[in-house]
Symmetry: C3
């Protein structure tokens, strides 16, 4: 009989302003190790309407490309109807703040070039929360 | 020993035409309450190739910005090869009709400004279905 | 008492080059049938930073539209800072290589026009892996 569980963890951190990148890969990998869940999934969710979670290569040049890319997709200076941070909302809608990742033999199966990054899309530094849910068999 | 379950619910509703927004937050929150699942996830999925599920602020001005944003990302009048509603498919591919949300202590942990919205991307009113799956411990 | 399980399967395949489409619907549906999971979810994840998983209609004309659409969203010839395949990374970030799908009565509830497609975004043919996790009650 399998021992199926869900383990919920909360992680809080600060961002330094618009399009700050925070690498959460090691934090989430460690929570999975501590949970002793061997096979299952981890669902990472940020309860914010102006944040993003992506999987991508954590390479300085690429992060700069991403910054320019986000500004091309949902420009900051365009005249929106929603006041002050509509572009922040549009970016978070397009690249939503959640990811589901596979756990096999007690580890998240990140690809070699996949890091889990939080991207601040709001226009000033914020306190942010992520909910890490580890679901599976111990 | 935990009591792990999956509870499947189907919800049907009508849309009034292209880029109609339907707020599903309360419906899904109520299904979670009724399920008596305390900790886990809810997966919401719409089996349609021309629909979208997003988390965003349900604010009239922002919804108008979203309408313009979708038309910028995948314009309606461009010459596509697929007949009649290619732009509807492209929008649904870019912003897919599924979301996974965390349940903690019997409630979905929506952020303050996060509502779960279905967006009709097809070109006429449609009957739509969402599958709500609540997975976790009672 | 329910019999809750997670079953992990690995599938490897080759792509023929940039923007090759590989339809995985039947493969994943078959793994679900073989798993004997009746109700739950299947999480499909590709551990690659230059691949995409989408749900869309597998129609030749639409696939051609998608090719043009990807090139419009993240153009290939633009001057990026990341060398050689920045556009491949940006496309995979925007349309990430994972999907969660509902299983009801032993089958994935694809919509009529929803096929699960892997899209190669890297610039040459690659060996690719997908992790198929079937989670639920037998």
């Amino acid at each position: 009989m399998s021992n199926f569980k869900v383990i919920n963890k909360i992680y809080k951190f600060s961002t330094r302003g618009e399009i700050d990148f925070v690498d959460l890969s090691n934090k989430v990998q460690k929570e999975v190790a501590d949970s002793e869940i061997r096979n299952g999934i981890v669902h990472v969710f940020s309860p914010h309407a102006t944040g993003i979670l992506v999987l991508t290569e954590n390479d300085c040049a690429l992060l700069e490309d991403i910054k320019i890319f986000l500004d091309k997709l949902a420009p900051k200076h365009k005249e929106y109807l929603h006041p002050s941070n509509a572009h922040s909302h549009l970016r978070s809608m397009l690249l939503p703040p959640d990811k589901t990742l596979p756990i096999i033999n007690g580890r998240i199966e990140f690809g070699t070039w996949q890091s889990l990054l939080f991207v601040e899309t709001d226009v000033y530094p914020r306190e942010r929360t992520i909910i890490i849910q580890i679901i599976g068999e111990q």
